[in-house]
Amino acid sequence: MPNVMLRYNDKGDLLFYVAKKDLEEVIASVETNTDEAWGGTVELSNGDKFFIDPISPPPEFPTTLRFKRG
C-alpha cells in the first residue's frame, strides 16, 4: 500500500511518484476518469499497475493518495 504523490509535470501529464521506491512515472491510463469520479486501476508508462477505489468527486492534484498494488 504505497503512499503516492500525484502531480502534473511541465507537459501536463500526471506523474505518479513513490518516494520510497524512487518511482516517478507518467500515468498512462486511469480506469475511471470522469467528472464524477477518479480511480480504479491505474497503469503507468512502464507497465506497473496500481489500484485505488474510485474517489468521488475527483481529487484535486497535486495530492497524496494510498494505492494498492494492482
Partner: protein
C-alpha cells in the same frame, strides 16, 4: 587518448569487475553502465541507492551527514546540536564552507560545533536529562538563537532516547522552535536518507507549525531551494534573480534563517537547485500550499540562459523582459571569460564523481569551456537523478554509481582523463598519479561557481589546475633525459 567506443568501455567495465568475487561482481555490475541516450528510464541500465558492499571502499557518507551537514547545518540563526559523542560534529565542523553573514556566536552559529558529548554514563542511563540541561544552557548562553535542532547520532537511536519528548516540552517552556531530527547515521544506505529525514523534520516542526503566520507577499516572490551557498554560490545566484525583477524571500539553506524557512510556503514559485536533497519538501509545499516548483541550473552561461528564460516563463512580461536584460548584460562578461580560457582548455577530458546533483548540473559549464565529460557518477543519487542524467551526457560515456575506490582508480588509469572532479578523499590519490584534480564538493576552497560571476571563477580555477606547470615535473630530470645522459656519462 581519443574517445572510447561503446565496446571499449564495456570491455573496460568487465576488466575492472574481474577482481571481485563472483557475488560482488554481480552486484557491482548493476551499478556501472554506459550512457545510451535512447533509453528513457535509467532503471533499465543502472541500479542506484542500494547498500554498499561490505569490504569495498565507498565514498559515501551517513544520514547524519545528510541532515546536519547538508540540510540543517547552514541554517545560520539556529543552533544545531550534534546529539551524541563528540566526534561526528567535531570532525565535520565547518567543512562544507556554507558562507553566511552575521556575528558568529552572537546571532549566527554556522561554524560553531555544538555537541552533547555523550559519555558512557549517558549511554547506560539515557541522555534525555543531559539534553534538557543543554537546551537550557544554550538558551542562556546564546539568547539570540532563534531555534535549536537536535541532530541525533547513532547511539541515540540505539539506546532509544526520546528526543521528541524533550523537544516538545522544552519548546513550549522556552517558546522557541526546537526540532528533533532522527538522522542517526546507521539509517539508510547513504546521506540521501538524511536529506529525506531532514526534509520531513522541516515539514513537521517548522513549516506546519508556522502555517498562518502573517507575511506580506508580492507577485514576484521566489525562493532558492537546495543551494547551500558553498563559497557564496547562493549569493551569485540570488543577484541574477533579483536583477530580473524577482524577490527572493528565502534561501534554503545556505545563508538561510528560520524565519525564511517559515515564509517559504508564501512564495509564488520554489526554485530548486539541488533536486536530490530538497525535492521532498518542494513536493510537499506544492501539495499542501499549492506552490509550484521547478528545477534550474546555474552552472555555465548556456544553462544559466536556459534557466533564466524558463524561470521568467512562469511570470509576466515584466520579468521576461528583465530576464532578457540580464542575459544581455552579462553576455560580454562571460564571452570574455570563454574567449580567454577556451583556447587553453579546449578538448580536455573530465571525469566527475560527486554527490547527488553536480555530476549532471556542471556538465554544461565544462562544455561552455570546450571540455568534454567522459565519465560521471553519483555517490548517493536515486533513479530519478539518473533519469535526468541520461539526456545531459553523451553516448558511450561511462556512468558509475557509488563507485568504489578501486574501480575509480582503474577507470582513471584506463580512460586517462585530463582532469578529475571529486572530493577530498580522492584528491591526493589522483594528484599523486599525476592527474590534475579539483574538489567539486567544496570548490577546492574557491568559489562561488554558480551564476555568471561564478563561471568566471570556475573557468579560472580549471585553467589554473589543468595548466599548472607542476604537471610537467612529474617525470624526474634523470628519467626525462633518458639515454642521452647515460651516453654522456660514459
Amino acid at each position: 587518448m581519443s574517445e572510447m567506443t561503446r565496446e571499449q568501455t564495456e570491455a573496460l567495465i568487465q576488466e575492472v569487475l574481474e577482481v571481485y568475487p563472483e557475488k560482488a561482481q554481480k552486484d557491482r555490475a548493476k551499478h556501472l553502465t554506459i550512457n545510451d541516450q535512447e533509453i528513457e528510464k535509467s532503471s533499465k541500465c543502472i541500479t542506484s541507492n542500494r547498500k554498499s558492499l561490505p569490504g569495498v571502499m565507498t565514498i559515501r557518507g551517513c544520514a547524519y551527514a545528510g541532515s546536519k551537514g547538508v540540510v540543517w547545518g547552514p541554517v545560520k540563526d539556529m543552533i544545531h546540536l550534534s546529539h551524541g559523542p563528540v566526534g561526528c560534529g567535531q570532525y565535520s565542523r565547518a567543512g562544507r564552507r556554507n558562507y553566511y553573514v552575521g556575528n558568529t556566536g552572537v546571532d549566527t552559529f554556522g561554524t560553531i560545533n555544538f555537541t552533547s558529548d555523550f559519555q558512557e554514563k549517558d549511554i547506560v542511563f539515557g541522555g534525555d536529562k543531559k539534553l534538557n540541561k543543554i537546551v537550557d544552557e544554550i538558551n542562556m548562553l546564546f539568547p539570540l538563537a532563534k531555534g535549536l535542532s537536535i541532530q541525533s547520532e547513532c547511539p541515540i537511536g540505539l539506546i532509544g532516547d526520546d528526543i521528541e519528548a524533550v523537544a516538545k516540552q522544552k519548546g513550549k517552556e522556552l517558546n522557541k522552535t526546537i526540532v528533533p531530527v532522527r538522522c542517526e547515521g546507521f539509517r539508510g544506505v547513504s546521506q540521501s536518507l538524511g536529506h529525506h529525514i531532514a526534509n520531513d523534520a522541516i515539514r513537521d516542526w517548522v513549516i506546519d507549525p508556522a502555517t498562518g503566520k502573517e507575511f506580506e507577499s508580492t507577485d514576484y516572490d521566489v525562493t532558492i531551494i537546495g543551494d547551500y551557498n558553498i563559497g557564496g554560490d547562493a549569493w551569485a545566484s540570488r543577484i541574477l534573480l533579483e536583477e530580473m525583477g524577482l524577490r527572493v524571500i528565502a534561501q534554503w539553506s545556505g545563508d538561510g534563517t528560520l524565519a525564511e524557512m517559515e515564509n517559504t510556503p508564501k512564495a509564488k514559485l520554489n526554485l530548486l537547485h539541488c533536486y536530490r536533497s530538497m525535492n521532498y519538501i518542494s513536493r510537499y509545499m506544492e501539495e499542501k500550499f499549492g506552490v509550484p516548483w521547478m528545477e534550474y541550473n546555474f552552472f555555465g552561461p548556456t544553462k544559466i540562459e536556459e534557466s533564466l528564460r524558463a524561470i521568467a516563463a512562469q511570470f509576466d512580461d515584466k520579468i521576461k523582459e528583465g530576464a532578457e536584460k540580464v542575459i544581455e548584460k552579462y553576455k560580454p562578461q562571460w564571452q570574455a571569460v570563454v574567449d580567454k580560457y577556451r583556447p587553453r582548455l579546449e578538448g580536455k577530458r573530465v571525469m566527475l564523481y560527486v554527490g547527488g546533483l553536480r555530476p549532471r548540473h556542471i556538465i554544461g559549464a565544462y562544455e561552455d569551456l570546450g571540455m568534454e565529460v567522459v565519465g560521471t557518477g553519483y555517490e548517493f543519487a536515486h533513479n530519478d537523478d539518473y533519469d535526468r542524467t541520461i539526456a545531459e551526457v553523451g553516448n558511450a560515456t561511462l556512468i558509475y554509481d557509488d563507485v568504489t575506490g578501486y574501480e575509480f582508480e582503474e577507470f582513471v588509469k584506463r580512460v586517462k582523463p585530463d582532469l578529475i572532479g571529486s572530493g577530498i578523499k580522492e584528491k591526493y590519490i589522483f594528484q599523486k598519479m599525476g592527474i590534475p584534480f579539483r574538489q567539486m564538493h567544496s570548490w577546492d576552497y574557491s568559489g562561488p561557481y554558480h551564476g555568471y560571476d561564478g563561471f568566471a571563477i570556475f573557468a579560472r580555477d580549471m585553467d589554473m589546475t589543468l595548466n599548472n606547470p607542476c604537471w610537467d615535473s612529474m617525470t624526474p630530470p634523470w628519467k626525462r633525459m633518458g639515454d642521452e645522459t647515460a651516453i654522456a656519462a660514459e
